[in-house]
Symmetry: C2
Subunit: 490 residues, 2 copies
């Protein structure tokens, strides 16, 4: 069964053929680290996380590169985001970058998003960007004016091939600010001359300045994945100008095709409008995680196609919470039942025919899941296989027909497909690790109270038994003048 | 009470006078990220962590910069460490860097080491390094030969002022490899011409190459702290050539003094020999954390002066474990007693005179701690104040003389000095958060068994009470054909 990917470049589903035999090279545009990330970011990065997880599950080695934009690029009001953040918090720009890069990875870790293999930072690749700009100048795709360098879009025949825009249709002065220095209004900056006191600036052959926004992705993807690589991902909002400019830069400078497959995620909407920092209609990932479990947020995101827009609402997240719980409870029941089978033997074992039928059924769910994922990573369809399987396995446990082999098959599906691939089924161990101190405290208090009752009833044997059993668990009771307290033995 | 710092530069304790009124600027040489860090690294970074924590506790704002060396520098056998790591693990050099940078911060987080405000990477500051080299060339402190650039030590009058070495005494060809290109055997590389297939290389005015090891610290400290800053830290093993070269580079290029205070940590020894990767006598931080608690490792490190060597041994770590436990148990007893006082009222309250005497005593311990830390961060002496106080407060709790005000004073000392400053007293909340799933599971099982017993004894009221109380805590019992299981309600 082969994997197909909807390639934005061809606007068609294509069979995926990686350049190297077993290594998939993949680049995804990362965040600009100037503030906490919101659920719109989560949609993009959870989606690509599942892409990477599925490729790895399918046996590929993946080199996943995702950049960190820390040089900043202009906001609509003409102010650099990083510098704006630095002024807001009265610190050095690089402290802003450290703070929000850390915050970003914290959020991603909390969401169970696999870390990229390389997270290159724009500020860390100034020489590489300068070299690529020099190459573009040498090949006549760029020109210098007053210490800034621009890309000449008219020189690149295929400009617009990703977004489907045509240069002729792009009128000057409407959506794009005209700079007098440019030869064509659509030309974009590769290198920008720094104003006198600009904090982020570097020396270059054209004087002190800083790179344009687009060149970092071309330079860093070339450095770590090669001029031609397999998959380029990002949010669809950046298809123009950012992605279009990346193609123009890379293909002109390197003389070979850039990414073979373009995958762009749909936007997260709030009442039909894009969730974004600038519109103020956002929910940060940290806020969301205070209210919802990571599995619920992932399931919400995976309930739609990655390339479709999704609507954020409390109702949708509540539904995702219920869905995640339904799958996790079923998975837990399977683990518990397996555990009991191991402890107590098979019990009233089902007959072989029923058992075989159920194993086949689970295999079919696994196939359904696999077909869905191989069809352009159709996570919602894959999810439906897990939901349907949960219904069947719950019923089999209820009526006692879930034999050990059936339970083992089901447990493997939950762990591999629900856990490793989609990241929505909590591992048995992870779930067990999440011991709650509050719950523990209340359990111990409950036992202390029971011991007190036993003593009041002069049932000293029972009182002592409670004390001794607690000591075995490592909980030492201490009777003092003010009541009984406890401490944990080391 | 003013802070004194032993300044390696003057070989004397000096009163600390920061350059800026309230901001302390501090740079510490960070790790080369090519493998997991070991306890030798922990000694250095925990020591400086306590320096930063003490400065902040004293009311200073601190900008703490610690670099990440990811360009690699030569090993004794002439091979680049990063490239060696990459070959060992069959991945790209930058994947090695990502992996071990993450591992380093994981270890530091686990040890409770505060993150630096800025963690600049050498590879991210190639232009800054090139600029500084250009400055050194322009001022005649450096010379180019065949695409490499060397620093001319004879041109810098004060070369050797930190380590106390004199150029005349440094003989060629003995401990230092002679390169024919150098004018003087002690000259060191600022920029190294890259061999044809060298993976880490950048363009420069002298052709493709990579920076020498020392220049990164000069360039990055200048960028983030200014040419002249307050404190430069590191391990004493790098005093020569690394720190000496930093001074020579920075002072020659910038024309002002480099760091005002040099603080160097003593080496961690194993049977009298330095713990190091190359000698193979190391224990990684991850290994150590599997056996010992973070507080125990910190206490082991803080039991000696930061600038003295320390001897690693299992006995020393066991002693530190006991010590950390002694302090933490006392701190927990104080918190518990305060809690009970809050719940039950003052109980058999001590008289005011006793109470006043105890409060004074605790204040004296606080003073002892403060004096010790202000005397060149004498953590072992500060620790002894906490140990002595623990003895007294334990006795006061035992004999019922610890009134609420006494307990409050003691709790503040544990939390502020033991917790915030030294990082060895677990916070009440952190300790409470560390609920153990295994313990919880056993507690629940104990209650399930008690319920079963009650049912066998036909004491259904008690059996149901257990079930209901558990449900209140969020633990739902499910009786099935194979026994009673439970699940956690959401």
């Amino acid at each position: 069964m082969s994997l197909t990917i909807y390639n934005v470049l061809s606007r068609d589903k294509e069979v995926f053929k990686p350049i190297h035999k077993e290594l998939v090279t993949m680049y995804v545009c990362g965040p600009t680290v100037y503030d906490n990330s919101h659920l719109g970011h989560a949609k993009t990065y959870v989606s690509f996380d599942v892409v990477v997880r599925w490729l790895r599950y399918s046996g590929y080695k993946v080199r996943y590169v995702q950049n960190i934009t820390d040089v900043g690029h202009l906001l609509d009001d003409g102010e650099d985001r990083i510098l704006k953040g630095a002024r807001r918090e009265r610190v050095e720009p690089m402290e802003i970058v450290e703070r929000y890069m850390r915050s970003y990875f914290e959020d991603m870790d909390a969401l169970g998003v696999t870390r990229p293999d390389i997270s290159p930072r724009a500020s860390a690749h100034i020489p590489e960007q300068i070299e690529m700009i020099q190459e573009l100048l040498a090949k006549g795709f760029a020109y210098e004016v007053n210490g800034s360098v621009y890309y000449s879009v008219e020189r690149f025949q295929e400009y617009g091939k990703l977004s489907g825009r045509r240069i002729e249709e792009m009128e000057a002065g409407k959506r794009v600010a005209v700079r007098d220095e440019k030869r064509h209004p659509m030309d974009f900056a590769l290198w920008i001359k720094a104003p006198e006191n600009h904090v982020l600036q570097w020396p270059s052959p054209w004087g002190r300045g800083y790179p344009g926004w687009h060149i970092e992705c071309s330079a860093m993807s070339t450095k770590y994945l090669g001029a031609n690589f397999d998959i380029h991902g990002g949010g669809v909002d950046n298809i123009f100008p950012h992605n279009e400019c990346e193609i123009a830069q890379s293909e002109a400078a390197n003389g070979v095709p850039f990414a073979n497959y373009w995958m762009l995620t749909g936007t997260l909407l709030v009442n039909g409008v894009k969730m974004s920092k600038s519109l103020g209609n956002f929910v940060t990932i940290k806020e969301a995680l205070r209210q919802y479990k990571p599995e619920a947020l992932r399931l919400f995101i995976l309930s739609g196609l990655y390339r479709s827009p999704a609507d954020y609402s409390a109702a949708a997240l509540d539904a995702a919470t219920k869905g995640a719980e339904r799958i996790n409870i079923a998975a837990q029941r399977v683990r518990d039942a397996l555990h009991l089978t191991a402890l107590n033997g098979p019990g009233n074992a089902a007959d072989d025919a029923t058992s075989g039928r159920l194993v086949d059924l689970i295999d079919q769910y696994r196939m359904r899941f696999t077909s869905a994922m191989n069809d352009d990573f159709n996570a919602p369809l894959a999810l439906s296989a897990l939901f349907d399987m949960s219904k069947d396995i719950n019923a089999a446990i209820d009526d006692g027909t879930a034999s050990q082999i059936v339970l083992e098959h089901a447990a493997a599906v939950y762990s591999e497909l629900g856990g490793d691939v989609l990241g929505i089924v909590r591992a048995g161990k992870a779930a067990a690790d999440a011991g709650s101190a509050e719950r523990e405290r209340r359990l111990i208090q409950m036992l202390i109270d029971m011991r007190l009752e036993a003593r009041k009833a002069k049932d000293y044997a029972r009182a002592d038994a409670i004390r001794n059993q607690l000591a075995e668990i490592g909980i030492l009771l201490e009777d003092g003048p003010k009541g009984t307290t406890y401490r944990l033995r080391d």
